[in-house]
């Protein structure tokens, strides 16, 4: 068993506290840096896409997994990011400035949505966010002078500090750096007051209030931060898509983001990354399966959504903590080998809430 001996309070504040964690993260970073040397362009592009979805997943995770505010319309922020960035780049705004403005616009829109949403709960919030996404999709379709409408919008080439980055590996590194910043920054948030207030609002608004947390403001902040990060993913996604159309950011895309964080494991940054891996690998696995299965099954329309749905249901029933929960168990197994016992993860149900205020 690996004990974490703490000798200073700083150990609780540190980014990666366990030595094992450092090694694992180091190896992953090394692999990601060396990936362009090892992978063909096709796979490298897929990896880049995975990183972009990881960023989007973290965006939604902050809102839904950490603050407990469900959003059925997060593709709208992805879309706002993609369109805003493309439109700005087309008007010769430099990359970094365009990204910054895009993030600010989306953050502001997010805060406005958050303000109305801060009074809503559960079902109503789900409907409101869904309605917002449909509205935004309609705007993309109708505001033709700016977005090109349903005819679509060509995304300007990726150009950073005056250098055109047209090669797959160049674009990959941009995605990698951005993903690194977002993962690091989001982790920072949750070892500081803002992130803890998010968690507090998720778990008990009542006691959060009694401890001085302004619940409405926290929800507005969470929507803002979440929207800004998701829009960053949208901006990067635009470069991968090279051509934007409104229906790319429809309800299905919102659902995909939501499924990603549920399958990955709600309430952890790593869960969002696992979720991104899942949605990136699954289509590949499904297309492989299609070749292997007899044509009568393999070629049936609707096989893909069916498998998607089945896997999600299986996760919700058997592993509510998602892939991240699996990972924790696996890690615990190796760290405690050969002393692992299943019971370690069986929740003590020693106490049930009988009655709640409200």
């Amino acid at each position: 068993m690996q004990y974490l001996f703490k000798t200073r309070y700083e150990d609780d504040v540190r980014f990666l506290a366990k030595s094992g964690e450092k090694i694992r993260v180091g190896l992953v970073v090394l692999f990601m840096l060396a990936a362009p040397l090892m992978l063909q362009d096709y796979y490298l592009a897929e990896l880049g896409l995975l990183l972009v979805y990881a960023i989007a997943g973290i965006g939604l995770m902050i809102l839904t997994g950490f603050t407990g505010q469900v959003s059925f319309g997060h593709a709208a922020f992805l879309g706002i990011g993609a369109y805003s960035h493309s439109i700005l780049m087309a008007r010769a705004v430099p990359f970094s400035l365009s990204i910054l403005i895009t993030i600010l616009i989306a953050g502001l829109v997010g805060m406005i949505i958050g303000r109305s949403a801060s009074k809503m709960h559960g079902f109503y919030l789900a409907i409101a966010t869904l309605a917002f996404a449909i509205l935004i999709e309609t705007v993309f379709g109708e505001w033709k002078s700016l977005t090109g409408g349903h005819a679509g919008l060509a995304v300007p080439a990726l150009k950073v500090f005056g250098v055109t980055l047209a090669k797959v590996w160049q674009q990959y590194y941009v995605d990698l750096v951005m993903a690194g910043i977002v993962i690091w920054g989001a982790s920072n948030l949750f070892r500081a007051p803002t992130g803890r207030a998010f968690i507090a609002v998720r778990d008990s608004e009542l006691s959060a209030r009694s401890l001085g947390v302004n619940v409405e403001w926290v929800k507005i902040q969470a929507f803002g931060v979440s929207a800004a990060i998701t829009a960053l993913a949208g901006a990067l996604l635009a470069h991968q898509l090279t051509f934007l159309a409104p229906d790319v950011f429809g309800v299905l895309e919102s659902l995909k983001l939501l499924l990603m964080i549920v399958v990955g494991g709600l309430g952890s940054i790593l869960g969002a990354v696992f979720g991104a891996i899942f949605v990136s690998v699954l289509p590949v696995a499904i297309s492989f399966l299609k070749d292997v299965l007899p044509p009568s099954i393999g070629q049936k329309a609707g096989l893909e959504p069916l498998l998607f749905g089945t896997i999600i249901v299986l996760f919700i029933v058997f592993e509510p903590l998602g892939i991240y929960g699996r990972w924790l168990k696996l890690r615990f197994f190796f760290e405690t080998f050969p002393y692992y016992r299943k019971a370690s993860f069986v929740r003590q149900k020693s106490y049930l809430k009988t009655e709640r205020m409200r």
């Binding site: 803002t194 778990d203 009694s210 619940v215 931060v225 106490y351």
Partner: protein
């Protein structure tokens, strides 16, 4: 009348669909005392706390804390006045660790700014360490060091009760509202609570208002007791006076019958 009042509740009333949960209640709490509120189930004890916390809007009456009118403040500003509380049904952040719970307890004293924290600028770390140290003092006081890194959902009931008290203390309140601090605890744990309450009162100088059913505990720690029934005050006095009060006995017998 010349002693300064810390908390001053006047003619406080609230109705829930025709039920007078709190009905024309007045009482004062003096600095440094332990003030107990007793009464049968449904008497309105928790509702008084929820009114002070500003979770409910009273239909009539006033609540003053020193010279501050609490009814002018939103719920999240109450702790900044120095009023901390616990809940009858334990309201902890279930999926967070004990340490995280206690650090939220420090929220009143924290500055938060998502931009600084996203980049974890040096000031953020410095602040974190200061609060971490304060939290550790409370951890020592209530002897919950061994739970420090555990999730609340993995803790037994008694430990949760302690953590909730600890979290309230992390805010460094001057007035502490405790809703049944000993309910569900065994005699040994209840003894611990009574010692801690003494410590909190004497060493930390915190004034305590507590709702409690355990009359032994009340007799041991309370300086004065307020007895209510059906939302109305029936008596106020020392624990002995309250125990001998005929109306109080009636209220409890009536509730039992």
């Amino acid at each position: 009348m010349s002693t300064p009042q810390m908390l001053s509740v006047r003619n406080l009333s609230i109705e829930f669909g025709g039920v007078h949960a709190v009905d024309d209640v007045s009482f004062d709490v003096q600095p440094g005392e332990v003030f107990a509120i007793i009464g049968p189930n449904g008497a309105g004890k928790s509702t008084i706390f929820n009114l002070i916390s500003r979770f409910y809007e009273p239909t009539a009456g006033s609540i003053f804390y020193g010279e501050h009118d609490l009814l002018e403040l939103p719920a999240h500003r109450i702790v900044r006045m120095g009023i901390g509380r616990t809940f009858q049904n334990i309201e902890l952040f279930e999926q967070a660790t004990v340490l995280q719970n206690l650090l939220v307890g420090r929220h009143r004293h924290m500055r938060s700014n998502p931009f600084r924290e996203f980049l974890f600028l040096p000031g953020v770390k410095k602040d974190e360490l200061v609060h971490r140290r304060k939290v550790e003092d409370v951890i020592d006081l209530l002897e919950i060091a061994r739970y420090r890194d555990q999730r609340i959902s993995d803790l037994p009931y008694g430990a949760r009760k302690n953590v909730e008290l600890a979290r309230a203390l992390c805010a460094e309140p001057t007035l502490l509202l405790l809703d049944e601090p000993a309910s569900g605890l065994n005699t040994e744990e209840t003894d611990d609570v009574s010692f801690w309450l003494e410590d909190i009162k004497h060493d930390l100088g915190v004034t305590i208002v507590m709702v409690e059913h355990d009359m032994n505990l009340v007799a041991r720690v309370a300086d004065r007791v307020l007895a209510i029934n059906n939302g109305k005050v029936i008596a106020i006095g020392t624990p002995d006076e309250i125990r001998d009060n005929v109306e109080v006995q009636h209220a409890y017998l009536g509730a039992a019958a």
